[in-house]
């Protein structure tokens, strides 16, 4: 069991090592300035030297991502169910939801701060705005794709609209909704960066996004890379924990073939 796990972790580890090696060689050979592209060894050193600082900044970002994604999942899912059950809502909400994805965050950021100040709330709002959409789209598609023959069966058994939803449509849509959640979770990390960049904070640990921006301005590029690496690892960890949740939530959908996401 442990062996099989180790064997499965091998290919991505090897690939990562190869990429890091190529990166190191490229920096050495081309003599690229550390301000433009720090070599992996200096990023690793920055990571080591600033472990406390980075960990301190990971905490608020992780909280933003966690709360933001939770709110986005709820909003996306509730909207999807509403859109599915009500054609009127579908016509009203869908175009607006699509349009909302084109609004540059910079445009609304001042308003969010004006409303909610420098705390976590405006950041959550940004993450929710970015992340509810994939959940909405995949869940609506999943609900629409439920098998009409199953719905027929439920009709002959006198199921109410709600029962048809609960016994057939909802479980059928769950795997698609979870795929949406995975996409949402992955972009929630970059969403947190955007949110932190666009809205100020007063806390001592402003989050990894602010840290990256501050380091880049201060020409502390290796530390910016180290912070970006923490985001990178955090996104991967989030993604795979959701894959585990999927097995628990929708075991019937477990793919017989191994998928990339199989943890």
């Amino acid at each position: 069991m442990i062996r099989a796990r180790a064997a499965r972790a091998l290919p991505p580890t090897l690939l990562l090592c190869a990429l890091l090696g190529a990166w190191e060689l490229y920096v050495q050979a081309s003599q690229t300035s550390a301000f433009v592209l720090p070599a992996p060894h200096s990023v690793a050193a920055a990571l080591w030297d600033n472990a406390g600082l980075l960990a301190g900044n990971l905490a608020p970002t992780a909280i933003e991502v966690g709360l933001g994604i939770a709110a986005a999942l709820v909003l996306g899912f509730v909207l999807a169910v509403g859109v599915h059950l009500s054609p009127l809502l579908r016509r009203a909400v869908y175009p607006l939801a699509v349009g909302s994805q084109a609004v540059p965050i910079a445009v609304i950021a001042p308003l969010l701060v004006f409303w909610w100040g420098f705390g976590i709330v405006p950041k959550l709002a940004v993450i929710v705005l970015i992340c509810f959409f994939p959940v909405l789209v995949t869940t609506v598609d999943g609900l629409m794709a439920s098998d009409p023959e199953q719905l027929k069966l439920l009709r002959t058994l006198d199921a109410s609209r709600w029962q048809a939803f609960r016994f057939a449509e909802l479980p059928a849509a769950l795997p698609a909704a979870i795929s949406g959640a995975r996409i949402a979770l992955t972009i929630a990390v970059i969403g947190a960066y955007i949110a932190e960049s666009q809205t100020a904070t007063t806390s001592g640990h402003p989050g990894l996004g602010r840290e990256i921006n501050a380091d880049l301005t201060a020409l502390q590029t290796p530390r910016a890379y180290a912070a970006a690496f923490v985001l990178f690892a955090f996104a991967i960890a989030c993604f795979y924990s959701l894959a585990l949740a999927e097995r628990w939530l929708a075991p019937w959908a477990a793919h017989p073939r191994e998928r990339g996401a199989g943890a």
Partner: protein, 266 residues
């Protein structure tokens, strides 16, 4: 109690005639093909099943048998003609088990829908698993069952709907000969204990002769009734009874005759 009829023309005295049974009168039904052309599936079909009667419907593939059952179960409406039936449960040709529920939960679906608490519904369904040779597979997911087991679970789900009329679409089609024989016996006994009105679609003429009170033979598409054969044979029946064999021969002859008539038309 007969539910309201689906009619386009004048009202008819059918519901009274249907009480507990099925009346299908002069029903035609056509589908729309992908290019908008009409694809007639049933043409002027009349079938009756009195309360407690088992009527078998045989006919070549594509002659509208599934369509007939869906009409009786009100999943479709006829283009013309009348249909009246007591509340009917359908066992579809594909088993339609829900992959997210285990076998018992699937079998108990109608009970859940009727509002029984989950544990009681499961208990009731589970108790019948043994009789159907499914003991020990209560918690298996549909994907872990064989085709024949899935059919039996679907069959149980249909029975547990408690409806007066059962519409069975090739219920034992995926079973091996021995299990099919057992299931036929089991159905015959179950219906003797607790009579229901049954419309049984089958491609197996022997099955029809074994189980039915009456056989309706349909022609090729669009389906028309080409023969109605009374099966006045005492029960329990066996496939080797002379009367069953004779009925089987007659049904085969009617099927062949209608096939020949079509050949002549074509």
């Amino acid at each position: 109690m007969a539910t309201e009829l689906q009619s386009r023309a004048q009202p008819s005295p059918l519901p009274a005639a249907a009480a507990g049974g099925i009346v299908v009168e002069n029903v035609s039904r056509a589908y729309r093909g992908s290019r908008g052309e009409a694809v007639p599936a049933l043409a002027d079909v009349s079938v009756r099943a009195a309360r407690g009667e088992l009527v078998a419907v045989v006919g070549p593939s594509g002659c509208g048998k599934t369509t007939l059952l869906e009409l009786v179960c009100r999943l479709q409406s006829p283009d013309s003609g009348w249909i009246a039936s007591a509340p009917a449960a359908l066992m579809a040709q594909r088993d339609m088990l829900l992959p997210w529920f285990d076998a018992v939960e699937n079998a108990a679906l109608a009970l859940r829908i009727a509002g029984h608490p989950r544990s009681r519904a499961r208990e009731r369904a589970s108790a019948l698993f043994g009789e159907l040779g499914l003991e020990g597979f209560q918690r298996a997911r549909p994907s872990e069952l064989s085709g024949g087991m899935r059919q039996r679970v679907a069959f149980l789900r249909t029975l547990l709907s408690g409806k007066e009329v059962l519409c069975l679409d090739e219920p034992f089609g995926a079973l091996d000969a021995i299990t099919r024989g057992e299931m036929q016996q089991w159905l015959a006994r179950a219906l003797q204990r607790e009579p229901r009105t049954v419309l049984l679609v089958t491609h197996d003429v022997e099955e029809a002769a074994l189980l039915a009170d009456r056989l309706v033979v349909l022609s090729g598409r669009p389906g028309r009734v080409t023969a109605e054969l009374e099966a006045d044979i005492p029960r329990p029946r066996s496939a080797t009874d002379a009367a069953v064999l004779a009925l089987r021969q007659r049904a085969l002859r009617s099927l062949a005759l209608s096939a020949r008539a079509e050949g002549a038309l074509a």
